[in-house]
Symmetry: C2
Subunit: 455 residues, 2 copies
């Protein structure tokens, strides 16, 4: 009998898993269920579509399920919700939402790719038609439509992480007066203080009104059901449009129903083949936690790169291959108006919490030789473990080239290089591209003085 | 008695060595000799000064010897030429060129930092006043003066390496009709064919007249002693200005006189402390060969980064420290008009010659997601050893971010990573900075298929 592999979820990890499974075992019967209408729609581009850096809506369009079927050989059922999984009988109960009937599917292997959802704030009014998330392409199109039709003047963003930063820029570029309400002193809680100050400065420079240490108390709505004001513990802010960007949480109802082991962040735990604690059930993408390669602990890092890699791994292994996904270093970046902000590895707080003895240094360097046209400042906060001398984390913020420099440090982190080794790297020098000592070398040279790695 | 360290040469490695020696041993008597008038003048910026990307001549100015003495505690003798070294008596005979008298200096340690010189072509007329090199700041100022005064219309560049490329851009930006005469089919012989084609395309696009496979036969001069035409084996090219950029050779007269061991490229060979084969004599900078960390063979790579590191190493070790310089991977880049061109590690030819079994792949990726404004093409030629699967070399050419991506591959080369490991690197994805799979990952993913590292 043909092997049957069921894949639940059609956004990122699911299609990756299904395609890879089919490529790995051409004889397998691979079936993908998606409760929505579309599959494989990218949401990372939504902020740039709202901000009009990307104007062609076609580019964001999801894959056509029929095309996907035809080109990948995967059977796709959109508008199908998997309601129950029976791990002993290896069966799934699936509701066809269009015909509203229930179907049974047997499986040899099942892959959970149920994704994540935007966190709710738990206040009346958050379902109003001018309150948005950026969690799906539909969210993006709805917000775009609302902005085009109703021309909101005052936007309020609640949050302060990566998506909030991207949306500050998107709204700012649309000429909206934008207020950012944040629970903490400085935006981007995961970054180091120096980076967060740089981000705040850039926001303020671009007329974003940052309100620190705000607790959201209520949404004031009008007769048409729109929010008109966001009420905080320190006064009210008028709002024609509200964006909630307080993070996402893994969708784990199905995983819970089969008693798959979850981690402390609420995501599914898997081995390196993406196999859960339940026989023949895999998980991949935003519903999972990810092993952090620096401290070997679980983290919740719902990134597109991990979703794709976990999907491939689950799909290939389920179909008989030997793929492995070991984890990541949370390599992440955001554009905040004119600057690049990137982070790789552990924060100093995470480092401390996971038993390292972090030492830090902050340097400012030049992206090119300082008197070459277009030279910009590059700020590097690097974090090492005092005892081993290993680089374990870094923030890079500033001009063009910050993100790619963060990647260089990211490779060093993944290779468990010491600051002494990083300081001796052979990096390119040429006036249009780097000063004689790239800021990375300056950072490493400084920080190694604080570690045990200097002879 | 105080330790005395003599340093010969004041351009890059010499001042680095002298400063570091003094910092390492505050009691040492450190003396630097330079036969010219200036010390520590940078020449890497000269092409950008000629091309007017850098307009402030002050920025190029050399260090004032008196300032250097005062701030570093090093005794500086400019216009002093070391004429003889007596390694048994540990003495140097030095000519004071200003007073034209001879002095004797005893030493405990001596550091040769005698640099390199532009290769001559060996034809009558190459000393004409409109024939230039780019080997010193004086060359740069002389050329700038000539261009400003005589407004040459036709420039001829003989060569085809990094300096020739920089000068094509510099002359092009001055509106000169520029002809590049090259001995080979394509410019930049050290790069792979695909990169060289990209470079040629960019030159042609910017109106540089490239003449391939040309042998220079003669310089035709006029009554005023200026070259008017460059005569090749395939016709004559009119020239108001000629630039000779056919490479540099190490200055090793003094090293030879003490019978220091030289390598096959004619440079001085040293150990990891920069000690030559002669007792108590060190060498650093362009007069030395450098150990290539990829194939563990000597190479001649007269780069500013190596000069500084070798200088520091020699200075520190001579003064009693334990510094080490292990070598480099020849990380190098050039801007050719609108594109970045970088090379790290071995070329396929070098790889073959040093016992590897090179396999190569060429990919074209996007610098950002393809539909994000400003996204540019990034071309990567990667070279791996088939047997070990190790990345051993790469060219990266194209849009903004090519050079920093070459550095990422450079770190992977230095860490002896396999293509499989490179393909699994956690690199940042964000639409304004990278596609979901950075071109580096695409390159690695492709090339690993040709190596033994895929399971």
């Amino acid at each position: 009998m043909r092997q049957r592999i069921l894949v639940i979820g059609g956004l990122a990890a699911g299609p990756a898993a299904a395609s890879k499974a089919k490529r790995t075992n051409r004889d397998a019967d691979v079936v993908l269920f998606e409760q929505g209408e579309h599959i494989s729609s990218g949401i990372c581009e939504v902020p740039y579509f709202i901000g009009r850096s990307i104007t062609d809506a076609e580019k964001l369009s999801p894959l056509n399920p029929l095309n996907f079927e035809r080109t990948r050989g995967v059977k796709v059922h959109v508008l199908h919700r998997v309601e129950e999984i029976h791990p002993v009988q290896k069966k799934a109960t699936v509701r066809d939402l269009y015909h509203n009937k229930t179907l049974q599917f047997e499986y040899d292997k099942l892959i959970l790719a149920t994704g994540s959802q935007a966190k709710a704030i738990g206040l009346a009014g958050e379902e109003a038609r001018n309150v948005f998330h950026v969690k799906s392409l539909a969210d993006g199109f709805a917000m775009k439509h609302f902005i085009d039709e109703e021309k909101p003047k005052h936007a309020v963003i609640i949050g302060g992480g990566y998506v909030a930063m991207e949306m500050c820029e998107a709204f700012g570029m649309q000429g909206m007066e934008t207020t950012l309400l944040h629970r903490d002193d400085l935006p981007m809680s995961r970054l180091e203080t120096e980076s967060r100050k740089i981000v705040l400065e850039e926001l303020v420079k671009n007329s974003i009104r940052f309100q620190a240490r705000r607790i959201i108390k209520a949404f004031k709505t009008d007769a048409t059901g729109k929010v008109t004001d966001v009420v905080t513990d320190a006064g009210s802010v008028p709002a024609d449009l509200v964006l909630l960007a307080i993070g996402v949480a893994p969708n784990v109802e199905l995983a819970k129903s089969v008693r798959a082991q979850l981690g402390s962040f609420g995501g599914v735990l898997t081995d390196q083949h993406q196999i859960t604690s339940v026989d023949s059930i895999y998980a991949a993408g935003d519903c999972c936690e990810v092993k952090n390669l620096v401290n070997n602990r679980w983290m919740y890092a719902p990134l597109a790169t991990y979703a794709a890699r976990q999907g491939w791994t689950a799909g290939e292994h389920a179909a008989g291959g030997s793929a492995v996904f070991k984890g990541g270093i949370r390599a992440i970046a955001v554009k905040v108006f004119g600057i690049e902000v990137a982070s790789v590895g552990l924060s100093s707080t995470e480092a401390e919490a996971s038993g390292f003895h972090p030492v830090m240094d902050y340097i400012v360097g030049d992206s090119k030789i300082s008197f070459y046209p277009g030279s910009e400042k590059i700020h590097i906060i690097s974090i090492a473990d005092k005892k081993s001398g290993r680089l374990i984390g870094a923030n890079v913020a500033g001009g063009s080239g910050s993100v790619l420099r963060a990647n260089i440090l990211g490779v060093a982190i993944q290779q468990k290089m010491t600051m002494d080794e990083v300081s001796k790297l052979d990096l390119i020098y040429a006036p249009p591209f780097s000063p004689l000592w790239d800021p990375i070398l300056t950072a490493a040279h400084q920080l190694r003085k604080q570690t045990g790695s200097v002879k």
